[in-house]
C-alpha cells in the first residue's frame, strides 16, 4: 500500500508538471522554425528589407492577432512578389499562412488574423519573381496565449 508520505513525495516529482514539455523546448522550437523556413526558402539567402510586417507590439489576446504584410515591389510581369509567408517563433507549428500573388495583384499587400502562442518574434518572408527572399521580423508581447488554453510552460 502507498503511504501518505510516499504519495506526497510522488506528487512532488510527478506534479512538478513542466514534465509535459521537454526541457530543451526552446531549442526544439528554434529548430522547428528553422526547418519550416528552410522548407520554403531552400538554400537561398534571406535578406532583411523591402518587407513591412505590421502587427500590434502588445497583444492582449493571442487568439486573434491582426497582421498585415506589405512588400515594396512594382508588381509588373517582370518584377513582382510571388509569395508571402508568415511564421511565428513560439507556436507548436510555426507556419501561419502562405499567400501566392502575381502581377495581377497590383499591390503586394495582404492582411489576415493569426494565432500567436507566446511572446516572441513573428517573421514575414517574401519571395520575389527573381527568386530572392526578403524578410521582416517584429517582436511582440502576448499576455493571453493562443493554441494551448492552459498556456505554455
Amino acid at each position: 500500500m502507498i503511504t501518505r508520505r510516499a504519495f506526497l513525495f510522488l506528487g512532488l516529482f510527478v506534479g512538478s508538471a513542466r514534465a509535459q514539455l521537454p526541457p530543451n523546448i526552446g531549442e526544439l522550437r528554434k529548430k522547428a522554425l528553422d526547418e519550416a523556413i528552410r522548407k520554403v526558402v531552400g538554400n537561398a539567402q534571406v535578406r532583411t528589407g523591402k518587407v513591412k510586417l505590421e502587427l500590434p507590439p502588445l497583444i492582449d489576446n493571442g487568439n486573434t492577432v491582426p497582421l498585415s504584410v506589405s512588400v515594396e515591389s512594382p508588381m509588373t510581369a517582370a518584377d513582382h512578389v510571388r509569395a508571402i509567408h508568415v511564421f511565428t517563433e513560439k507556436n507548436p507549428q510555426p507556419y501561419v499562412v502562405s499567400a501566392y500573388l502575381g502581377p495581377r495583384a497590383g499591390r503586394a499587400r495582404i492582411s489576415t488574423r493569426a494565432r500567436i502562442a507566446d511572446t516572441g518574434v513573428v517573421t514575414a518572408i517574401a519571395q520575389m519573381s527573381d527568386g530572392s527572399f526578403w524578410s521582416d521580423s517584429v517582436k511582440v508581447i502576448v499576455t493571453l496565449s493562443a493554441c494551448l488554453e492552459e498556456g505554455l510552460i
Binding site: 498585415s68 499562412v97 499567400a99 501566392y100 495581377r104 495583384a105 497590383g106 489576415t112 494565432r115 494551448l148
Partner: protein, 106 residues
Amino acid sequence: MARVVVNVPAQAKRGEVIEIRTLAGHPMETGFRRTQLGELIPRDIIRSLVCTYNGAEIFRADLHPAMAANPLITFTTVATESGTLEFRWTGDNGYSATQTAAIKVV
C-alpha cells in the same frame, strides 16, 4: 453549413487596384486543444483559399492551424474587365465552400 462572406467593390475603373476581403465562418480547430476529459480535439481547419477572376487564378493562400478562427484574408487585384470573381475554400473533413461576386469595370 458553411458561411462565407466576400467584399468586392461593385464597380471599379479599369486598371484600378481594388481590395478584396474574404471571411469564412470556421472554428479552425488546431488539434492541440483538449476537452475537459483530456481527450485531444482532432484538427479541423480550412487548408486553402483560391480566388479566380473570370477563370484565371489571381490569388491563392495556404492556411495552417496558426490562423485565427473565422479566417479573414484581405488582398488586392487590378480590375481588368467586368465579370465574376470566384472564391473557393477547401479544408479538412471534406469542407468546401464557394462564393462568387460580380464586378463591373468601367
